[in-house]
C-alpha cells in the first residue's frame, strides 16, 4: 500500500502514468472542480440577486425619490389622493412592532430553550421541539386569524383594566380599538419565538460536556453551570437566533396587516392602531393608481431593505463589542 507510488528501478514513475495529463472527464470525475464550480455559482448568485434587487428598487422608485427627496423618510403624511407621500408612520410602525415583539419573545424563547436543553428529560425535550418547529411552519395568515379571533377579543377584556392602572403612562393611554401596535407585536412575538427556541436549544445542546464538567468541578450548582458556563458559551448562536427573528419580524406582512389597524399615523401609545412598511406595500400595491403612487410604494420597499440592513449591522456591531468586553474582562 504505502509503497505503491514509490519509484523503483524496475518501475519508474513514467510508467505509472503519473506524468500523463488528465483528460477533462477524469478531472470532472474526481469531483473537486465540480464542487468548486457549484459552490462558486451558489455564492455568486446571492450577490447577483441582492444587487439586482437593490437596482430594481432604486430604478423604480425614482419618481418618488425625485419628488420628495430625503424628506420622504421623515414626512408623516400619506395622501395618495393628493399625491403626497411620506414613509415615517410605516418606518415607525415597523420598528416599534418588531422591537416590542423581540422584547416579548427573547425572555420566553431563551427561557424555553434553556428548559428544553438543560432541564427537561431528553424525550420530552425532543417531543416539544418537534411541536415548536411545527409552529414555525404555520402560515402567517393563520397567525393573523388567531390574532383577530382569539387575541383581540382577549385584549378587549384585559386592556381596559390594565389602562385603569397604567393608562397615565403615555405608551399605554388612549382608546383601545383592538387593532394596535401592541396586538401586532404579540402576534409577531408568537411567530418568532419558535425560531429563538429551536436554534437556541440546538446551540445549548452543542456546548461541550467538558465545559459543563469543568464548571461543575468548581462546585457550581446546576444553575451556575447553565447560566455562567453553558449560556455564555452558546451566546453567539443565541444572538444569531435573535437576529433571524428580528429579520422575520421586520418583514412580516400578512399577520401584521390583519391586526395592526392599517392607519398611517404615528402614535406614542402602543394601544393605538398603526401601519408597517410590509403591510402597506401588500395592501396598496394592487390599487396604486399613477406612477408616483407606485414609485412611492417601491421606495418604501427600498426603505425596508435599508432598515433591515441597519438592524443587521447594529446587531453585528453589538456582537463584536460584546466579544471585546468578554476579553477585557
Amino acid at each position: 500500500m504505502a509503497n505503491a507510488v514509490l519509484a523503483t528501478p524496475e518501475a519508474p514513475f513514467e510508467s505509472r502514468g503519473l506524468d500523463k495529463k488528465q483528460t477533462l472527464w477524469e478531472r470532472l470525475r474526481k469531483g473537486d472542480e465540480v464542487a468548486h464550480l457549484i459552490t462558486l455559482a451558489g455564492g455568486w448568485s446571492i450577490l447577483v440577486i441582492t444587487v439586482l434587487l437593490v437596482q430594481h428598487l432604486w430604478v423604480f422608485s425614482r419618481l418618488s425619490r425625485h419628488a420628495f427627496g430625503w424628506h420622504f423618510l421623515v414626512d408623516s403624511t400619506w395622501d395618495p389622493v393628493n399625491g403626497h407621500f411620506g414613509a415615517w408612520p410605516f418606518v415607525y410602525g415597523t420598528v416599534v412592532t418588531s422591537l416590542l415583539a423581540l422584547a416579548i419573545s427573547i425572555p420566553i424563547g431563551i427561557g424555553s430553550a434553556i428548559f428544553l436543553a438543560e432541564l427537561a428529560p431528553r424525550k420530552l425535550s425532543n417531543g416539544l421541539t418537534f411541536l415548536i418547529e411545527l409552529l414555525a411552519a404555520v402560515p402567517s395568515v393563520i397567525y393573523g386569524l388567531i390574532g383577530i379571533f382569539l387575541l383581540i377579543p382577549f385584549l378587549f377584556d384585559v386592556v381596559p383594566y390594565f389602562q385603569r392602572f397604567f393608562g397615565w403612562i403615555p405608551i399605554f393611554n388612549g382608546t383601545f380599538y383592538g387593532v394596535s401596535y401592541f396586538s401586532a407585536s404579540i402576534v409577531l412575538s408568537i411567530m418568532v419565538v419558535p425560531f429563538i427556541i429551536s436554534i437556541s436549544r440546538e446551540v445549548l445542546i452543542a456546548v461541550p460536556v467538558s465545559q459543563r464538567e469543568a464548571m461543575m468541578a468548581l462546585g457550581a450548582t446546576k444553575w451556575d453551570v447553565t447560566w455562567r458556563a453553558v449560556v455564555p458559551y452558546a451566546r453567539q448562536g443565541i444572538m444569531g437566533s435573535i437576529f433571524l427573528s428580528l429579520a422575520r419580524a421586520l418583514g412580516e406582512t400578512m399577520a401584521v396587516t390583519m391586526v395592526i389597524g392599517n392607519v398611517a399615523q404615528v402614535s406614542t401609545s402602543l394601544m393605538a392602531p398603526g401601519y408597517t412598511i410590509a403591510a402597506v406595500i401588500a395592501n396598496e400595491f394592487t390599487e396604486a393608481t399613477g406612477d408616483l403612487y407606485l414609485h412611492a410604494l417601491i421606495e418604501l420597499g427600498l426603505v425596508l431593505f435599508v432598515v433591515t440592513m441597519i438592524f443587521n449591522a447594529l446587531a453585528r456591531l453589538l456582537m463584536l463589542t460584546m466579544k471585546g468586553h468578554e476579553v477585557v474582562g
Binding site: 468548581l218 476579553v327 477585557v328
Partner: protein, 276 residues
C-alpha cells in the same frame, strides 16, 4: 484521625488503626477510605469491590488499560458521575472521617477539585477563568479575588508567562498553558484534594514536564490523585500506585514496589509492557 499501616492500604474494609503496631512507615490520616465500592453504568459493572485508602498529602496514581475503571473511580471521588444518568454506586466512601455522600455535591466539589483530560478553559479572559470558582462563593470578598488569582497562578507556575496578558482570552494560550490554567482554576478555591484525569495526555513532553514539576510543588498543599496512561509519569510523580484491570483493583502499593517488584503477575505483565 489515626495513622495507618502500609499493609492496610488496599484493605479498607478491615482497617485496624493499630496505634502501637510497629511498622516501617506511618502514613498520615486517610484522605479517602473506599470500602467495597461497586459502580454500575446501567447494567454494566464498571467497578468491582474496590477497597483502598488514599493517604493525605500524598500523590496516588491509578494505572491500567483503557476501560479498566480508573477514571470512573476518580470521578466517583468528587461525585461527578452522579451527573451522568443511569449510574449507580454501592459501598462506602469516606472523605476524612465523614461520609462522602453526606455532603451537598456542590460543596464537596469545592473540597475535591478536578482537572480533566482535555484542557477546558472557559471562553473568557485568563483572569476570569481563575476567578470563576472564587466568584461562585459569596463569602469571598471581591477585593480578595485579584490576590487569590495571582497566588493561584503562581502556584500553577503560570504567573510569569501570563502576567502581562491576564485580560486576554484564555483560548489564545498554548495547550500546556491552558492545562496549567485549569489547574490554577482548581487550586484557586483551595481544595483539599486535586483529582487529575490524564492531565497530560494531550500535551507535549515539555508541557508534561512542567505539569509534573507543578505537582511536586503542590503536593504539600493537597492530596493528589492522578489517572495516567503514562507509566513513566506514574513512576515519576506518584508515591503510591494502584493498578486496575477490568474494574478490579489488582494491586496497590508504593510506586517503587509496583514498578520494580510487583506482587501480582498481571501487574508485572502490564508495567513491563507485555499487555495492555
Amino acid at each position: 484521625m489515626r495513622p495507618f499501616d502500609l499493609s492496610q492500604l488496599s484493605k479498607a474494609h478491615d482497617v485496624r488503626f493499630a496505634e502501637d503496631d510497629p511498622t516501617d512507615e506511618k502514613l498520615p490520616w486517610p484522605q479517602f477510605t473506599v470500602a467495597d465500592l461497586n459502580f454500575y453504568y446501567g447494567s454494566h459493572q464498571a467497578l468491582k469491590g474496590i477497597n483502598l485508602i488514599v493517604p493525605n498529602k500524598r500523590v496516588m496514581a491509578f494505572i491500567g488499560p483503557s476501560g479498566c475503571g480508573k477514571t470512573t473511580l476518580l470521578r466517583t471521588l468528587n461525585r461527578m458521575n452522579e451527573t451522568v444518568p443511569g449510574t449507580r454506586v454501592e459501598g462506602s466512601i469516606r472523605l476524612g472521617d465523614k461520609d462522602l455522600f453526606s455532603f451537598p455535591a456542590t460543596r464537596l466539589r469545592r473540597v475535591v477539585g478536578m482537572v480533566f483530560q482535555k484542557p477546558s478553559p472557559f471562553p473568557k479572559s485568563i483572569f476570569d477563568n481563575v476567578a470563576y470558582g472564587l466568584r461562585l462563593d459569596p463569602a469571598i470578598r471581591r477585593n480578595e479575588i485579584a490576590d487569590r488569582v495571582e497566588k493561584s497562578l503562581r502556584r500553577a507556575a503560570l504567573w510569569d508567562e501570563v502576567k502581562d496578558k491576564l485580560h486576554q482570552s484564555a483560548n489564545g494560550i498554548s495547550g500546556g498553558q491552558q492545562q496549567r490554567l485549569c489547574i490554577a482554576r482548581a487550586l484557586a478555591v483551595e481544595p483539599e484534594v486535586l483529582l487529575l484525569d490524564e492531565p497530560c495526555s494531550a500535551l507535549d513532553p515539555i508541557s508534561t514536564a512542567k505539569i509534573e514539576d507543578l505537582l511536586f510543588e503542590i503536593k504539600n498543599l493537597c492530596t493528589i490523585v492522578i489517572v495516567t496512561h503514562n507509566m513513566l509519569q506514574a513512576a515519576r510523580v506518584a508515591d503510591y500506585v494502584g493498578f486496575f484491570l477490568n474494574g478490579e483493583l489488582i494491586e496497590l502499593n508504593r510506586a517503587k514496589q509496583i514498578f520494580q517488584n510487583p506482587e501480582n503477575q498481571q501487574t508485572q505483565d502490564y508495567v513491563t509492557g507485555r499487555f495492555g
